[in-house]
């Protein structure tokens, strides 16, 4: 017990760093989520961190006019509820006043004397009683300014709005259309290549591996335009349009392959040699060894790469802009978000909900494959699998 209490400085530092990273990540995400669930007026009125406490809000209500007066004990009375017709039609009144400058002048429940012998009482639930010794003449009732405390309100309206009216739903489908094949195709190619480069006797094997490692550091921006030119030329030659989903799948496959082969090769090369040789003696050919032995055993590495590639493609804007059109049937989420920032920059409820729709998929992918992710990163350091 005592030993556990003795904290080493490096451990404290490590824990602090972890806490810092967690906070750095969690706070904005939580803010985004909470904001996206709030009413758009609330977002404008207060920050997301106040969302769970009831908010004080200055409101204005108009009392009924002379048509609704009742004569009672020789006095004329108008009664009703201030929340009728107000912005927020429920809540608790904490104070009220008759001038716009002083909405909190009088405590709730008190009776205030007004001009011409009139008096006004406002209750917590917003009900009011206005009495006058003489008959009310104004057809239009006078205004009452009051402070109401609002309970927290959450709504899915923002999501409904962005998904079905703002076009985020369509872009979501587009992003999935890009991302899923762009994740699966490179895995299929890279797994074969990685096995061959790890275990098959090929001429120039070392040279091929060196080239692939070299390709890891080629910047995407550099190859983008030549690639597009090449692709357009091929498209013209074959008579297909230049901006298609097939094009972006191929582009992402190309950009993802060096890393995929590199990661998978080091994992597969780390499988015990005895296993592969034992399978050879058992009469399995290379394809069978790959399918029955290597593929099941390198699943953690496959999952690890799948996460990397999925997140990268999902979050990509550049390649999508270059290789896909900007019509509603091709615009991906990142592009749509970018467009929304321009056109709806002031509408926080739309931006936050859109942003959260965008990150929900990467979050799901990460958390469902997370254990493979960690194992995949440790690839090679732990023997076996």
């Amino acid at each position: 017990m005592l030993k556990r209490l003795q904290l080493e400085p490096s451990r404290i530092l490590l824990n602090l760093a972890v806490i810092f990273i967690i906070a750095l990540w969690t706070f904005p995400t939580a803010g985004l989520l909470i904001s996206s669930l709030r009413d758009k007026n609330d977002i404008a009125a207060s920050g997301w961190w106040t969302a769970l406490s009831s908010a004080d809000r200055k409101q204005v209500g108009r009392m009924k006019g002379s048509a609704d007066q009742v004569e009672k004990d020789g006095k004329f009375v108008i009664s009703g509820n201030l929340f009728e017709g107000a912005d927020a039609n429920s809540g608790k009144v904490s104070a009220f006043g008759t001038k716009v400058q002083t909405p909190g002048a009088n405590a709730v429940g008190s009776t205030v004397a007004l001009d011409a012998g009139q008096s006004l009482t406002v209750n917590v639930d917003g009900s009011y009683v206005l009495t006058s010794p003489t008959k009310f003449a104004d057809e239009r009732g006078s205004r009452v300014f009051f402070v109401s405390s609002q309970p927290p309100r959450f709504t899915l309206d923002n999501y409904q709005n962005v998904l079905f009216s703002e076009g985020i739903g369509r872009s979501f489908i587009n992003s999935l259309t890009v991302t899923i094949p762009a994740t699966i195709i490179p895995i299929l190619i890279a797994a074969f290549a990685a096995y061959a480069l790890a275990w098959m006797k090929l001429p120039f094997r070392g040279f091929l591996i060196a080239i692939i490692v070299g390709l890891l550091v080629v910047p995407l921006q550099m190859s983008l335009i030549p690639l597009l030119k090449l692709y357009n030329a091929a498209g013209t030659f074959l008579g297909v349009p230049s901006k298609t989903y097939l094009g972006i799948w191929l582009a992402h496959t190309g950009f993802g392959l060096p890393f995929a082969i590199y990661l998978l090769r080091s994992y597969i090369a780390g499988l015990p040699k005895d296993l592969i040789e034992s399978a050879q003696i058992d009469g399995a050919n290379d394809f069978k060894i790959f399918r029955r032995i290597v593929l099941p055993l390198c699943f953690p590495a496959l999952a690890s790469f799948a996460i990397f590639q999925f997140l990268w493609v999902w979050n990509d804007l550049l390649v999508a802009i270059v290789f896909l059109g900007s019509g509603p049937d091709q615009l991906v989420l990142t592009g749509k978000l970018n467009a929304l920032l321009g056109s709806r920059g002031g509408n926080w409820e739309i931006l936050t909900a859109s942003a959260f729709v965008t990150i929900i998929v990467p979050l799901t992918v990460f958390f469902s494959l997370q254990r493979y992710f960690v194992r995949g990163l440790l690839a090679g350091s732990v023997k076996g699998g």
Binding site: D274, Q280, I281, G283, A284, R292, I293, P296, L297, G385
Partner: protein
């Protein structure tokens, strides 16, 4: 029928020459043990026979057919690896049946054969388990089962017991010996660095040093007539004593070798005088470590010893058991 014949076999990795002109005749049904210090090439020799390593020159024949270029699966061999090499994601059943599956056998045939092997190795109740749920000895049996199920003519064992603890090792040694009895026509080649395994299991032992075959013979031949200082020192425990100088010159040899049990105690000052330095009493035997002018000598006495540490002793090698070695460390004729 599965004779193995190696003729002038050489194996190099780049510039490193591992196996040097290995010639060996292994008869069908023999239990052959390759033994030698680590790095002597015994595993490489086994891998060359299996086909996992290609030989650089020379010929390798199994069943009178040259198999230099034949892939491992077509050589009619089965191999048991030091690490067992069980497929970790497959059940015991699938592990044993994998080779049959590759041969294209039907499910029913595979089931019959795997279950027969499982019964033979007392694995029946473990067939559905994964290897990680098995003990070391059971894993070893699965590895052996994988070899048996294919009906291979030649079994190759690459230090199969070195991962087991001492008690289990003795048990598995007996099981492998029993397996050999049950499969009398199968040739078995077994690699080990443990000379006890070699002595107890082998029909014939092949002693290797630095890629060369030093001596081939039955365990007793090697024990009684080692042809070189290396073999004499490698076979037998405790090690043979080597004496140089005056006692050797007296017998016209550069070195003489005397096993610990081949000493007599005498009163004569003409024999090797020494001081008892340390004793190990094992009950059945006692080992005496005696410091002499020619170095430390080990003497074995049956039962307990009466000698005390520090006591002066005169040691006399028994003449008929003295091994004489010449300038080249090879045995001299009697």
């Amino acid at each position: 029928m599965a004779d193995i014949k190696l003729t002038n076999l050489n194996k190099s990795y780049g510039t490193v020459h591992i196996l040097k002109d290995v010639n060996l005749d292994i008869k069908s049904g023999e239990f052959i043990v390759f033994v030698g210090p680590s790095g002597c090439g015994k595993s490489t020799l086994l891998r060359s026979i299996s086909g996992l390593d290609q030989v650089s020159s020379g010929t390798l024949e199994i069943d009178n057919a040259v198999v230099n270029e034949v892939p491992p699966s077509k050589r009619g061999i089965a191999m048991v690896f030091q690490s067992y090499a069980l497929y970790p994601h497959m059940s015991v059943f699938e592990n044993i049946g994998f080779a049959l599956e590759n041969q294209g056998l039907s499910r029913a045939e595979i089931k019959t054969k795997v279950e027969a092997v499982g019964e033979m190795l007392q694995l029946t109740s473990y067939l559905t388990r994964l290897p990680k749920a098995l003990s070391g000895g059971q894993r070893q049996r699965v590895a052996i089962g994988r070899a048996i199920v294919r009906g291979a003519k030649v079994f190759l064992f690459d230090e199969p017991l070195s991962n087991l603890d001492a008690a289990l090792r003795v048990q598995m040694r007996m099981e492998i010996a029993k397996l050999k009895r049950d499969l009398p026509k199968t040739t078995m080649v077994y690699v080990t660095h443990d000379q006890v395994e070699a002595m107890t299991m082998a029909d014939r032992i092949v002693v290797l040093q630095a890629g060369r075959v030093m001596q081939v013979g039955t365990p007793m031949e090697l024990y009684e007539n080692p042809n070189s200082v290396f073999v004499a020192g490698f076979i037998g425990s405790p090690k043979m004593n080597f004496i140089t100088g005056a006692p050797a010159e007296k017998l016209n040899a550069k070195t003489i070798g005397v096993r610990p049990e081949h000493f007599e105690f005498s009163d004569s000052k003409t024999d090797i005088a020494g001081t008892l330095d340390y004793t190990e009493i094992l009950g059945s035997d006692s080992f005496l470590y005696v410091t002499t002018p020619t170095g430390m000598l080990t003497v074995r006495q049956p039962g307990r010893t009466e000698f005390k540490t520090g006591q002066k002793l005169n040691l006399k090698p028994i003449a008929q058991h003295v091994h004489r070695f010449g300038e080249d460390d090879m045995r001299l004729a009697k």
